[in-house]
């Protein structure tokens, strides 16, 4: 071993997060076969995906161990841009039917 410090058993430390992420992935598949309406299913799947994503960012990517300023710079910016993208939706539907909403 050429190391200067002994590495800890980080895999054991993050094993609970790994199992929770696997459980979320499994739950998504089970719920997808339960016959929910598309709107309800999208809401459930997105909630689970965001939960899994948050766990991955906070623990696997260690954002919870960084300064709060990094979190406050990165995450609100992403959320803001993703929400602002939805401004395009109304125009997209209007263009699809080739008529303004007023008609």
């Amino acid at each position: 071993m050429s190391g200067s410090k002994k590495s800890g058993n980080v895999i054991v430390k993050y094993l609970p997060v790994y199992f929770v992420l696997l459980a979320i992935a499994g739950l998504e598949i089970v719920l997808a076969y339960q016959g929910f309406s598309p709107g309800v299913l999208i809401a459930i799947l997105l909630a689970l995906a965001f939960s899994g994503g948050a766990l991955a960012v906070m623990y696997f990517m260690h954002l919870n161990e960084e300064r709060r300023s990094l979190f406050l710079t990165l995450i609100p910016a992403v959320i803001f841009v993703l929400i602002m993208m939805n401004m395009l939706w109304s125009d997209s539907f209007r263009l699809l039917h080739m008529k303004p909403f007023a008609h």
């Binding site: 071993m1 050429s2 190391g3 200067s4 410090k5 002994k6 590495s7 800890g8 980080v10 895999i11 993050y14 094993l15 790994y18 992420l21 696997l22 979320i24 992935a25 499994g26 998504e28 598949i29 997808a32 076969y33 598309p38 299913l41 999208i42 799947l45 997105l46 689970l48 995906a49 899994g52 994503g53 991955a56 960012v57 696997f60 990517m61 960084e66 300064r67 300023s69 990094l70 710079t73 990165l74 910016a77 992403v78 841009v81 993703l82 993208m85 939805n86 395009l88 939706w89 997209s92 539907f93 699809l96």
Partner: protein, 209 residues
Amino acid sequence: MSESEVTLHGAGGALIEGSPYGIPSRKLTMWLFIISDAITFGALLFGYGYLRTASSDWPAPFRFNPSILNVMFMTFILLTSSLTMLGGVDAAKAGDKAKARRFLWSTMLLGVIFAGLHIREWIGLIDEGVSLFQNPWGSPLFGATFFSITGLHLLHVTGGVVAIAVVSRGFSRGKLTAGHVEATGLYWHFVDLVWMFVVPLVYLLNLAR
């Protein structure tokens, strides 16, 4: 900014501001790349969502066997590769080159298996007649969105495997530091994160009944 908030570096006595986030610039750059990439994937998924909602004949081709079984296995592989990457970063920080190399090569192997499974899935769909602009089931845009989103993700996985190979080799030879391994690890976890959104939105919303 007061003088107490700046750090003195270098023999030349140049005044350089301290890192605002307390992390190396390499790591901050990777974070900035990741959020821009997250927005790129977000735009693709929003575009796909719009097209899917606007099309009355959107195909739902994914059967439990083989597609969803394949996706379950791919998810397991990618999540496990995140775990091995954590081990690689930890070993690299501890200076244990042999252990770091083992973990990084395990991560690469899992990445290659994931890419192989993904390509198998693509070949299966292509054999069924799906291409970028046509398919036997409905809206011709299905192929364009499916191959664009999963293709960009596959490109990220492939790029990640190459990056890990380069960083692993450089770290073993002492040319790269644990910081490089950590930044590569951040990228790999992001690839995993994107897959968590691709599976429900692209596969599970289009299940064959």
